[in-house]
């Protein structure tokens, strides 16, 4: 759309490439450094859990709402989760109003898989009456400033919001507004770590300018016990087997770091 913008970003992307070739990033970080993570919780009282994550200037807000619904017929004794990400038009001059585009759908599905497959929530425990009633946990994220690496930003705000979430009180399987029965139980804390290939280098936690220069993206959801629960390659470029090997090792390390920061920020009482 905005062609002047396009030209500016193209110029910046050339600078990024030149700098990264020399092992340096425009903002002075090392290739495998994250920007500063900051988490705020309780950002919405109407949510059952909520958090705002900052990765440098990137910001997303996640709210969790638990509702009572009918279980799926093929899993009558389980509840479920629903993960959504919206790229608000106020977050970037390139985002538009309207139904979610491909970019937002991929983003939300990768965040979803990381959480779902790591069995962060025990779906059996979300059952209320088999075949009749269960909890559905809606985890909805809104990107409010796009300064790169939305995958990790949304993963972090989603996890923080889940850690912040209280279970609404029920009476005869109906929600009693404003009353709660304790915190939502989380089995694992999966965290996305997203890599970018820029030139021949691998970097983490890309800025907006770096994403203009990257050829491919790779996300790994890791959790406790050196396991991972989701992989996703994106972009027109490629990775070699040894590059992915390298990324997996880094992801375990970064995952542990981010997880301990998350616990510090979001683990407080509510």
């Amino acid at each position: 759309m905005s062609t002047k913008e396009d030209i500016i970003w193209e110029l910046r992307s050339e600078e990024v490439l030149k700098s990264i070739k020399q092992g340096k990033r425009m903002d002075g970080r090392d290739l495998l450094d994250y920007r500063t993570l900051k988490i705020e919780t309780n950002v919405s009282e109407n949510a059952d859990g909520s958090a705002r994550a900052f990765l440098g200037e990137s910001q997303s807000i996640t709210g969790v709402k638990m509702i009572v619904d009918k279980p799926y017929p093929d899993n009558p004794d389980e509840g479920t989760i629903s993960v959504g990400v919206e790229l608000l038009p106020l977050a970037s001059p390139t985002f538009e109003s309207g139904p979610p585009k491909t970019e937002a759908i991929e983003l939300s599905r990768v965040v979803d898989r990381g959480i779902r497959e790591a069995k962060t929530l025990d779906f059996k425990k979300l059952s209320l009456v088999a075949g009749e009633k269960c909890w559905v946990v809606f985890i909805d994220s809104y990107v409010i400033n796009h300064a790169g690496n939305l995958f990790d930003t949304c993963s972090l705000s989603s996890m923080a919001a889940l850690m912040n979430c209280r279970v609404p009180k029920l009476e005869e399987n109906k929600i009693v507004r404003g009353e709660f029965e304790g915190k939502l139980e989380l089995t694992n804390l999966p965290i996305l770590t997203t890599f970018a290939k820029i030139g021949n280098q691998i970097v983490v936690d890309t800025s907006y300018a770096e994403e203009k220069a990257m050829s491919a993206r790779f996300s790994i959801a890791t959790f406790e016990g050196k396991k991972f629960s989701a992989l996703q390659k994106g972009g027109h470029g490629s990775f070699t087997q040894s590059e992915v090997d390298h990324c997996i090792d880094i992801a375990f390390e970064k995952g542990d770091e981010l997880r301990s920061q998350l616990k510090k920020f979001a683990g407080g009482k509510r």
């Binding site: 759309m1 905005s2 950002v43 919405s44 009282e45 109407n46 949510a47 059952d48 909520s50 200037e57 910001q59 807000i61 709210g63 969790v64 709402k65 509702i67 959504g84 919206e86 608000l88 038009p89 106020l90 977050a91 970037s92 001059p93 109003s97 139904p99 809606f138 909805d140 809104y142 409010i144 400033n145 796009h146 300064a147 507004r177």
Partner: protein
């Protein structure tokens, strides 16, 4: 607007205080911070009681698709949306008819104050997201949007300040909260003005009211809008003064 309990609460007690301790002409606590979104041309985070709102402004920029361009002036595109978790029952993310109507009337509230004629074929996009809500989110949205517009350096004749007035339990009140809006006789009247001239640029009302009650309500509303205006100016003070002087050089 109906009250589920059989007994109506006392909306204003003998001391003249409301359910949450406010006086009849008192707004909830309002906190305004401008310039919170680095990518946006202007932005504002606002808390108004439980309401939490983020506003971002882009523009003036080329209106697209081309057939939406007006060669005589810029368009205002106001988009009011609620986060799914911002209400007691989860909201479907798809914008509803209420969102669309609110976006329309809020956008119209800004057309008179922005120097639109300076930017032919352009659009000024105002995006407001409600993160948490408890009655009065549209007037909070306008108040935040006005600060975001100023933060973006968009040339304006005046700010737009907004408040809702209304009725509960027979009392005319400023800035009703949800409990008050649940009164069986509740009236909700959102309004927005240009503070320096008191021109009314947004006025809606639902509920049943008489002329006398209306007069009382509009008087309280005008006064409350001016208090909101003071808070907007305070939030912008340093930044705004700088922006204004640079704008004068640019646009005159």
């Amino acid at each position: 607007m109906s009250n589920k309990n059989n007994e109506e609460p006392v909306y204003v007690n003998k001391q003249g205080l409301r359910l949450d301790g406010r006086k009849v002409d008192e707004t909830r606590k309002i906190k305004i911070t401008s310039g919170v979104l680095p990518r946006a041309d202007g932005s504002c985070y606002l808390e108004w009681g439980q309401n939490k709102i983020i506003a971002g402004v882009y523009g003036p920029r080329e209106a697209l698709p081309a057939h939406t361009q007006d060669p005589t002036k810029a368009n205002v595109n106001f988009v009011y949306r609620m986060a799914s978790f911002s209400v007691p029952d989860r909201k479907n993310p798809k914008p509803g008819r209420r969102d669309i109507e609110i976006s329309k009337v809020c956008g119209e509230a800004f057309e008179k104050t922005i120097f639109l004629e300076k930017f032919p074929n352009a659009v000024i996009d105002i995006y407001v997201e409600i993160l948490d809500s408890n009655a009065g989110s549209r007037v909070a949205a306008i108040t935040a949007a006005s600060v975001a517009l100023a933060d973006a350096g968009i040339p304006m004749r005046d700010m737009v300040a907004a408040v809702a007035v209304g009725k509960a339990g027979g009392h005319i009140l400023v800035d009703l909260n949800k409990d008050e809006e649940d009164a069986s006789d509740a009236v909700d009247m959102p309004m927005a003005i240009l503070p320096s001239t008191e021109e009314i640029v947004l006025l809606q009302m639902d509920g049943v009211i008489t002329k006398d009650e209306w007069t009382k309500a509009i008087d309280l509303g005008l006064k409350a809008c001016k208090k909101v205006y003071e808070l907007q100016k305070n939030a912008l003070k340093e930044k705004y003064i700088q922006a204004e002087s640079s704008k004068e050089n640019k646009v005159e």
